[in-house]
């Protein structure tokens, strides 16, 4: 019963964010356009040599994922802050965990949607063979996104109240998510080289472990971030 209640509140929170997004389309538009631009810029950074680009592909792909994700995370408490309704958010009946999980689910959803555009676009633009490794890639992308977003959602709530919040979010988030970045890039590298999921299994386990640890720690910490 308690679980069902938390799920219901979580869903209410996520649905609120999704509905705002469906009406305003601010966040998704910015993320998708930014993602396209960043893929475009890789070409200028590394030159027209496709073999060089392909060698760097796993890292570049994750740079595109993470920078785009960062853009989305930075916006995730923007509506509440701009309209000064953090207090109203806190007045929502029930525990704070469902607020956190609701925001988290929305952030994961938006980031995954952006990734689903980046991945094929990246493959097309740089003539990359990804289709053979697609199930593995999707799994790694999902685990990496969950890990990045668990800490990211918590830090976004925290930095929303700071001066210089746009700067502070990446400064805090990137050092803490080094295991996610390394794990995702290395697993993607193994998958793209055709080695299969077994070769990348220890990285996938690391990602899963990271997700589990911070899915437990972050909701608990969230209570302390939101209190007024």
């Amino acid at each position: 019963m308690v679980v069902a209640e938390v799920m219901r509140r979580t869903w209410a929170m996520t649905w609120k964010d999704v509905r705002v997004e469906l009406r305003a389309r601010e966040r998704m538009n910015a993320m998708l356009f930014f993602a396209a631009l960043i893929l475009f810029i890789f070409n200028f950074a590394l030159g027209p040599d496709l073999s060089k680009l392909r060698e760097a592909a796993p890292g570049l792909l994750w740079l595109a994922f993470l920078f785009t994700g960062m853009l989305g995370l930075g916006r995730s408490f923007q509506a509440e802050r701009e309209n000064e309704c953090f207090e109203e958010l806190l007045l929502t009946p029930g525990d704070r965990e469902s607020l956190y999980f609701g925001k988290l689910a929305g952030n994961i959803l938006f980031m995954v949607m952006a990734e689903m555009l980046i991945l094929p676009l990246f493959a097309i633009l740089y003539n990359l063979e990804i289709w053979h490794a697609l199930p593995g890639l999707l799994l790694v992308a999902f685990l990496g996104t969950v890990g990045f977003s668990t800490i990211g959602t918590l830090l976004a709530a925290m930095t929303a109240h700071l001066r210089a919040r746009e700067v502070m979010l990446p400064l805090l988030l990137f050092p803490l998510t080094v295991p996610v970045i390394l794990g995702s890039v290395k697993a993607t590298e193994a998958l793209l080289s055709g080695a299969g999921l077994a070769e990348a299994s220890h990285w996938v386990k690391l990602l899963a472990g990271f997700d589990v640890v911070f899915l437990v720690v972050c909701p608990l910490a969230f209570e302390f971030v939101l209190e007024e």
């Binding site: 800490i151 918590l154 925290m158 930095t159 109240h161 700071l162 001066r163 210089a164 919040r165 502070m168 400064l171 805090l172 990137f174 050092p175 803490l176 080094v178 295991p179 390394l182 794990g183 290395k186 220890h202 990285w203 690391l206 472990g209 990271f210 640890v213 911070f214 720690v217 972050c218 910490a221 302390f224 971030v225 209190e227």
Partner: protein, 229 residues
């Protein structure tokens, strides 16, 4: 600002201890067979990082206590210890870099332990920046505590990831200082210096906590005055 009596005692003890440790390390201990004189930087390098670990552990414990009891004294301990820890991590990176230049021929290499220390450094510099950018002191304390706890859980995962990253795909190029068994002539200066740096840490803590408490009181005074008039 004058020192407190306990601060003065700690300062003298730390000075003596580090002086003896450095004398033992730089003069008495024999130079390393393969690395020569530059290996002596280890007598500062190793105790520095050990002291930094002690400092960050203290920050973690004080942060948990702060969130639990809401005692501003715990927060003063947390922020002071983080600051001193960052300085000792900085010393570790700098001395390690100098040692690396003369032993490996490069200032920096993406070796597992170096990378991990650099990550540690960035996490706690971020911690100090976060506190600086918070709009009110209570928020700084709460956010800082949350970040310190996140960082503490993050470090073992970082350790694992970086170890795998460096050992599974590339043979390690670490020149292991000291070898498997460390001679007493090398161990004694290390221990003396570690004790000295711990005393130095204690001295910095006493002074920095005192400063932080004054700052907290000054802020509280300003708030109550503002409310009255």
């Amino acid at each position: 600002m004058g020192s407190s009596p306990i601060g003065r005692i700690l300062r003298v003890m730390a000075g003596l201890c580090v002086a003896v440790g450095l004398y033992l390390g730089l003069v008495v201990a024999p130079p390393d067979v393969t690395q020569g004189e530059v290996q002596r930087i280890m007598y500062l390098h190793v105790p520095s990082i050990l002291t930094a670990y002690v400092a960050f552990t203290a920050t973690f414990i004080a942060s948990v206590v702060y969130l639990w009891k809401r005692d501003p004294r715990a927060d003063a301990v947390a922020v002071s210890s983080a600051e001193v820890g960052v300085i000792f991590t900085g010393i570790t990176l700098a001395t390690g870099s100098i040692w690396g230049k003369s032993t490996w021929g490069v200032w920096w290499t993406w070796d597992a332990r170096l990378t991990l220390t650099a990550i540690l450094f960035t996490i706690y510099v971020g911690y100090l920046m976060l506190r600086a950018f918070a709009e009110e002191p209570q928020a700084a304390a709460r956010y800082g505590a949350v970040l310190a706890i996140l960082g503490f859980f993050d470090i073992p995962l970082n350790h694992l990831a970086v170890q795998w990253w460096r050992t599974l795909h590339q043979p390690s190029s670490i020149v292991r200082p000291g070898g498997p068994s460390i001679d007493l002539a090398l161990l004694v200066p290390l221990i003396v210096n570690f004790a000295g740096l711990l005393l130095l840490y204690a001295y910095y803590m006493v002074e920095r906590i005192r400063l932080e408490r004054m700052r907290q009181r000054a802020l509280a005074l300003r708030l109550t005055r503002g409310r009255r008039g």
